[in-house]
Symmetry: C2
Subunit: 356 residues, 2 copies
């Protein structure tokens, strides 16, 4: 095992959103300081971080200053510019690794990686032109979804194709970006598994949760997911295969479809994941502390679930419900301190707890 990070060390976090915020709190709980690198001011993570370095990912001297001021670097989002990673990695270790980022930053590379591991994904085809898209539709079938290979999240950078008439506008919507066409598959539910791997190779998975999306945004995650025990085992084995193949260090979110033919991988996220927020009220060690433990070279913590939970995202005007939720005996609120309520913006989440 690598040497565990000493008390009082500083963990650098790239990204100052709610994931960085909750990572900062978890790091503090274990006696670490945090430095958050984030271009935006008054970001959620800055409220609970020891330092907030406000600078652009193009600012090489700020990146160097950041790396020099921390002992290890992690991140809350995968779309970090490669040039920034080059600068940082020359100074301090980054966990999870560059390889995990390289794969998850590009849908095509990710799907190829998963397929090569022997895992099942939805039918897909690479699209670099309208002509490619026509060929891809012929291969994958309709309906289908066209997604840019890079920088898409929460339903952005996507176009749905129902008929051949949608081909031209869909390709136009990608603005020339390399894309992937994904075929629709028939699934009964969406689940995800939050898995962690430490530097010594130990792997620990949280119970799978059942996800409901609305408009491309996660609405609720319910644990336990109602799936057969065999699928539960499959989910763990599958997640471990991905983590081990990458010699991964940290927490990963793996989104899965439950189909009549078993599990199919939707996507992987090399970071703590929205569908793992239930662990804050359902486990002794939540996904944020688990990630920090892995990144800091500590042993992984106990992620056994001790309650049934429905995690509900509070999106936009859902914030109007906070006064009512504050009165509920089974609701644990987690608000992100975002200054402005916007439609579609994740403002917080609530864990509705049912104890056995």
């Amino acid at each position: 095992m690598t040497n565990p990070l000493a008390q009082g060390s500083t963990i650098g976090i790239l990204g100052g959103g709610q994931l960085g915020r909750m990572l900062s709190v978890a790091a503090a709980r274990l006696g670490f300081k945090t430095c958050v690198f984030e271009p935006a001011g008054d970001c959620p993570a800055s409220h609970v971080a020891n330092y907030h370095l406000q600078a652009s990912y193009e600012d090489e001297s700020a990146l160097k200053k950041f790396a020099d001021s921390v002992d290890v670097i992690t991140y809350e989002f995968e779309n970090i510019p490669t040039s920034a990673l080059d600068t940082l990695e020359a100074i301090r270790p980054i966990h999870p690794s560059r390889e995990a980022l390289r794969i998850s930053q590009d849908r095509l590379i990710e799907k190829d990686f998963l397929t090569n591991l022997g895992l099942t994904v939805a039918p897909y085809a690479h699209v670099n032109s309208e002509e490619d898209l026509r060929a891809a539709v012929a291969k994958v079938g309709l309906p289908a979804i066209l997604k840019t290979c890079r920088f898409g999240y929460d339903g952005k950078g996507q176009a749905r194709l129902e008929t051949e008439a949608d081909i031209a506008p869909a390709w136009e919507a990608m603005a020339g970006a390399p894309s992937v066409l994904e075929g629709f598959i028939s699934f009964t539910k969406e689940i995800s598994i939050i898995a962690a791997r430490g530097p010594s190779g130990e792997v620990s998975c949280y119970d799978p949760g059942e996800n409901v999306h609305e408009g491309g945004i996660l609405r609720t995650t319910t644990v336990p997911a109602v799936i057969p025990a065999s699928l539960r085992t499959d989910a763990v084995l599958l997640a471990a295969r991905v983590l081990n193949a990458l010699e991964y260090v940290g927490v990963m979110g793996v989104e899965l479809f439950v189909t009549p033919n078993g599990l199919l991988v939707n996507e992987i996220a090399p970071r703590v994941h929205n569908s793992g927020h239930w662990t804050q009220n359902g486990c002794t060690v939540d996904q944020f502390e688990q990630h920090i433990r892995a990144v800091a070279g500590w042993p992984l913590g106990n992620g056994a679930r001790h309650a049934d939970i429905v995690m509900e995202n509070l999106i936009g005007d859902d914030m109007d419900r906070v006064p009512e939720l504050a009165k509920s005996a089974d609701a644990a609120l987690h608000l992100y301190g975002k200054a402005e309520v916007k439609k579609g913006r994740k403002m917080g989440h609530v864990n509705h707890i049912k104890r056995p």
Copy 2:
């Protein structure tokens, strides 16, 4: 009910130790920012607070700046200079109230207050001179403990008297400070109850915990305390009487002795309390969030206990045990990020969890 504090408001916290640290985290969880006022640099609370105003309690302009920058003020310790409170209260509300502070800052006033409420305390007598101390010994008996009325904590400012020969040195140890002689009482255990009261008058108590002290410092708190149901009820009624008498807003720690004649009040602390740290892993809403809820005018949260817990303080060299504790499946670690390990210094705590 008063208007609840709006999202994004700032809560000012006087004191930057571990209690301020855990209050800051709880405030962030509810979407609030925090500003910590603390003379020391690199203090535990500063690592997770939005701002740290580093200044002395004698610095009136800094106090004014602090009060102007926050929406409401609370504190993590009771020995705040009166002059500072005068400055602050002229600008922003302080919860819990000045009256709670006035009483708990002075052992004599506190004992008189509790006695006047009809509660039982150990026999005591006011001591202002060696002659007073002789008379007090005659009244209270020996052995006894002499304590300064003000500014004592964790065994400091105290002298134990076994025989009459201890009278002169004990009084000398007080360095002329007004003091109280407390008689020893025969108790079977020490318990404490953490109680909260909101601005609308609602009261909520956590399950009593059983405390073990070593060298005047809390070593462990075990929940549930093994006491008869009638004493559990007495503890709740007694705490509510204290809170209501003060029209208290916030969390209070009430230390009690279990005696053959029922409960006897040892002392009250107008703040979150070390013996309530178990709530972080035993309740949906812990004592820190409960305090923030009260101070912010939110409804009190659900403090029902869902696990059996032994909270153990990590004092000084106990930090050497952290690597071992980190491996334990039932241990939840909470470290304070203090730069230097010192004998007798509280460095963190661990909640040993047993689920039913």
